[in-house]
């Protein structure tokens, strides 16, 4: 950043829209599957806004919103209501969106996160519940299109809006905030966190103010950021652009700008002079929501361990660095993969290195999540034990891991690695078995006395002596033969 930029303080607030993973839509019984269903297959009179149809609140969506709000340390008022947000657009079948205006389900929360080892805290203004809109498809570019098509499968899908305070001070902080928020949503099972499909969407309000000033500068709303990278780049771009305007003595316009990822810049979409008047008023078709304290307590009791708590636990229980613990817990599935691998017997630090190293690198290239991979915790644990026993080298293990990752079934690649070094000569096996019998007199006696368990121990000793290179089945057979 230039020296000029340091004269200004960056002020960013984020509005995150997250779809809620309910089976049915917000106000009707239609399925929420809008990604794979044929166009307009999941619609009914209610979500198409046909005359005379009426909404009925999906309690599970309300519950998911309260869950989210609790995970974000929000207050949950006892009284809440829905409002109508009125505007005309072809993807909005009723001509209004059912949303929440002055009495949202929750307010006054905060989200804590870490940036380069420093603790940060961002206020959460509110988390409220609304319905998603349909989707427009244009034939060609929007300004030239001869026709547009509307798919209402998405119309009425429950959508949470999570509004932050303008507490973020850089693009880095904004990105970190969204990553943490996404992790929380995944942890509590309300959203998968897929930004590309629009399941999780983020708008940023970006402004500058003279360093040390408490007021707020002219706010620009940035839309269309479909990845963490885009959020980061768009905010960096906006900061630079606004700095240049101010430095050249210009004035910023309060406006909405869209992020163009391909060109790497923001483009003015509409100025606030044409801002819509949404004419909010209480939704007369829905009674107000009474949110009982018992219900809130029940939801709170059902909350799982959240990323911050899990991160603390990973640091103390597994002696991981704060950095590794934060990375591992940034995704629920990754944290679970790690824990399961360790539970199966892998050393924590080694498991963490594999997951955050080779595994994450391959997943990132393929834009896949850890639970999409064919490698499961047991495969990784077995690979790690092969290395630890000295059966294969670290270099071989890396090659084996990649082969396992590429295969639909990692089993054969793992077996091949094990087999390539397995002792096949009977003479060597004989020596190992003799050594085991000589060194474990008591276990040999126990086995003779009928304790099957003792044989398992003896096989384990054989594996140890062979540094994992012996075939356990053959050890089993040879031990039985020699002891009896």
């Amino acid at each position: 950043m230039s020296a000029i930029a340091t004269r200004y303080e960056v002020v960013v607030g984020l509005e995150v829209h997250a779809q809620i993973l309910t089976q049915s839509k917000m106000f009707c019984g239609c399925s929420t599957d809008y990604l794979t269903a044929p166009p307009n297959a999941n619609t009914c009179p209610v979500c198409l806004g046909l005359p005379g149809s009426l909404p009925v609140i999906n309690r599970r969506a309300v519950e998911a919103t309260i869950r989210t709000a609790l995970a974000l340390n929000c207050e949950i008022p006892e009284f809440s209501k829905f409002d109508r947000k009125n505007y005309f657009y072809p993807d909005l079948p009723k001509g209004y969106q059912i949303s929440q205006y002055d009495l949202p389900l929750s307010r006054n929360g905060h989200l804590e996160f870490d940036l380069n080892g420093e603790a940060r805290r961002c206020g959460i203004t509110r988390v409220h519940l609304e319905e998603d809109t349909g989707k427009l498809l244009h034939e060609g570019a929007i300004h030239e299109a001869q026709a547009s098509l509307v798919n209402f499968n998405r119309a009425g899908v429950p959508l949470m809006e999570i509004v932050s305070e303008p507490d973020l001070r850089s693009a880095d902080e904004a990105r970190e905030y969204v990553m943490r928020l996404r992790a929380i949503l995944q942890y509590i099972g309300v959203n998968h966190g897929d930004m590309e499909s629009g399941q999780l969407r983020c708008d940023a309000n970006v402004s500058l103010r003279p360093a040390g000033s408490a007021g707020l500068g002219t706010k620009v709303e940035v839309k269309n950021m479909n990845s963490f990278r885009a959020i980061h780049r768009a905010i960096e771009y906006e900061v630079e652009r606004q700095t240049q305007v101010l430095e050249s003595g210009g004035r910023l316009a309060q406006e909405t700008r869209g992020w163009n990822d391909a060109r790497g810049l923001t483009v003015s979409q509409r100025s606030k002079e044409y801002a819509e008047d949404y004419r909010y008023f209480p939704e007369p078709d829905l009674p107000p929501l009474d949110v009982s304290r018992e219900w809130v307590a029940q939801i709170r009791a059902g909350l799982p361990e959240l990323p911050a708590a899990r991160r603390e636990r990973f640091m103390t229980a597994f002696s991981l660095s704060p950095y590794d613990a934060a990375l591992l817990t940034s995704s629920k599935t990754m944290a679970e993969f790690f824990e399961e691998t360790v539970r199966l017997g892998a050393p924590a630090k080694t498991a963490a290195n594999w997951i955050l190293g080779d595994f994450s690198r391959l997943l990132n290239i393929d834009r896949k999540e850890i639970d999409d991979a064919s490698i499961k915790p047991r495969h990784l644990q077995q690979l790690i034990s092969l290395v630890d026993s000295g059966a294969i080298t670290g270099k071989m293990a890396k090659q084996t891991f990649e082969a396992m990752y590429r295969a639909p079934d990692p089993g054969p690649a793992l077996e091949a690695a094990r087999g390539s070094t397995q002792i096949s000569g009977d003479a060597e096996l004989d020596r190992i078995v003799d050594q085991v019998i000589a060194e474990n007199v008591k276990s040999v006696a126990d086995f003779r006395a009928g304790k099957e368990q003792a044989l398992k121990f003896l096989i384990g000793q054989g594996m140890k002596i062979s540094r994992g290179r012996a075939n356990p089945q053959r050890l089993d057979a040879l031990l039985r033969e020699k002891i009896q």
């Binding site: 046909l50 005379g52 009426l54 072809p90 009723k94 004419r279 008023f281 007369p284 009674p287």
Partner: protein, 490 residues
């Protein structure tokens, strides 16, 4: 007496006794529609085939004596604001021309379950906005008592159909008096239930916090029977009440002896026809003679009910009617150069003047900078009106007053003066804003034109309203008067 002149209760007995069949009855009513339909213009659509099919099914049900209900085989008309599966439903508006819903309103389903016969869709003011039926997007309806007079509105088609023998009974909807006022002006009984008593699912909305569906019938017993069939909770309408529905017939004939009836002094408004006032005073005296105690009460905020209504109802309507943009169903103007222009052309051509006036009023009232002064203020007034009724009902069991300050007026008399038209509803609107129920029962003729007595009871006090109305009806002959179009009960 002709079949189409009779009441539900009479006809039910005849059907059960196998004196007549539902097909015969339906034929008789359809013939009457053929005879006078072009005169009253009560229907927008007559569903002849559907009616005969339903009549045949009802006859089988009657023959087999299988689940025979009070409405089995009874021909009923439905206001066009009610959605009926596969039947064109337009709310009297051109913008919904040809709209055929793939679903039925809950009340329609309930009547189907009873085995009722649907005669067709009755004309109404466009989106139920009006007091004379002259705002229909298709054609005005004429009053069967005097063809140059309006039948009232907005349920004018339903009222005219019942009053002319073109239906045995009908369903209407009432947002500010749209059942009670036309009932009064055509000499029939009309009941507006308490908000939440009857499901609104499938009722094409005008003002969602005020709309209620209710019966329009020849007498009070029929009103009770029809209400019984449609009332009750509906999971599809979150604003419908979970309160159990009482047996309305059980208390209907209990009389008014010992009841306390209030007369709100504010309901004798300026501009009330002296003959109407006289009839109401006579009616009150009659109920007193029946053993009710009468006392004057005050509903001090009655004078601000009308202005509050004309903020709240248009505000909700402006939002409810936003969906009619021509992109998905109904009328589409075509020819717009872009989306906004197409929206504007469709709405300019599809909506009538009164609907546009109310959309503009409502949009203005909700606009940023005006919301507090208009919408919020009107909601505060509504709270005061609710409180007025609560106070009054601490002292009395029901309230009495006129339904409409005048008898039916001539077509065109008020079309140039919207405010004069709005004043028609001045004593019906408070019941909608106050979440109470009201019934209009015939109480006389003024210059040969019917007028109505309004009985208002507390929220979910339909049984009390019906009981008072029945006591009055039983002591009078007014409900037996038949319009010239229906013909004398020979």
């Amino acid at each position: 007496m002709k079949l189409y002149q009779r009441t539900i209760r009479d006809l039910h007995q005849m059907l059960v006794d196998r004196e007549i069949s539902s097909v015969e009855l339906t034929d008789a009513v359809l013939s009457q529609i053929d005879a006078v339909g072009d005169t009253t213009k009560a229907y927008l659509l007559v569903t002849r085939e559907l009616a005969l099919r339903q009549a045949q099914a009802a006859d089988e049900r009657l023959r087999a004596n299988r689940d025979v209900r009070p409405l089995t085989g009874i021909p009923i008309a439905l206001k066009d604001v009610l959605c009926v599966r596969d039947v064109v439903s337009t709310a009297g508006s051109k913008i919904l021309r040809g709209f055929t819903p793939p679903y039925s309103a809950t009340v329609v389903e309930r009547l189907e379950g009873e085995g009722a016969v649907f005669l067709g869709k009755t004309n109404c003011d466009e989106f139920a906005m009006g007091s004379s039926n002259e705002n229909s997007g298709y054609w005005p309806v004429r009053n069967p008592w005097s063809l140059d007079r309006v039948p009232g509105g907005s349920s004018g088609g339903s009222a005219a159909a019942v009053a002319s023998g073109e239906a045995i009974a009908a369903l209407g909807s009432d947002t500010g008096g749209s059942i009670r006022q036309p009932a009064a002006l055509t000499g029939i009984v009309g009941l507006k239930p308490t908000y939440g008593r009857v499901s609104r699912y499938g009722l094409i909305a005008f003002a969602s916090s005020l709309d209620q569906i209710g019966p329009m019938t020849r007498d009070v017993v029929d009103g009770a029977l029809l209400l019984q069939a449609i009332a009750g909770h509906d999971p599809s309408d979150s604003t419908s009440s979970l309160r159990p529905v009482p047996d309305y017939l059980a208390t209907l004939t209990d009389g008014v002896k010992g009841m306390r009836l209030g007369v709100p002094k504010e309901y004798f408004v300026a501009g009330m026809e002296p003959a109407v006032e006289q009839s109401i005073r006579d009616a009150i005296r009659l109920l007193e003679q029946q053993g009710a105690s009468i006392e004057e009460v005050s509903l001090p905020h009655s004078d601000v009910a009308l202005p509050a209504y004309y903020i709240i109802a248009p505000a909700e309507a402006s939002s409810n009617l936003a969906r009619y943009d021509g992109t998905r169903y109904g009328f589409q103007a075509g020819g717009g150069r872009n989306l906004i222009e197409e929206y504007m052309l469709t709405r300019q051509q599809g909506f009538g003047a009164e609907v546009k006036r109310r959309i503009m009023l409502g949009t203005y009232a909700l606009s940023s900078g005006y919301y507090d002064a208009y919408y919020l203020q009107a909601q505060k007034v509504r709270t005061l009106i609710i409180e007025d009724f609560k106070q009054a009902f601490k002292k009395v069991d029901a309230l009495l007053g006129a339904t409409s300050p005048t008898a039916a007026f001539e077509l065109g008399a008020k079309t140039q003066d919207p405010v004069a038209m709005y004043l028609n509803d001045i004593i019906t609107i408070p019941a909608n804003l106050g979440n109470v129920c009201g019934i209009s029962v015939p109480c006389g003729l003024v210059d040969g034109l019917p007028i109505g007595l309004q009985v208002i009871a507390p929220g979910f006090g339909e049984a009390a309203a019906l009981r008072v109305a029945y006591a009055f009806e039983a002591a009078t002959q007014f409900h037996k008067a038949r319009s010239p179009l229906m013909g004398a009960a020979a």
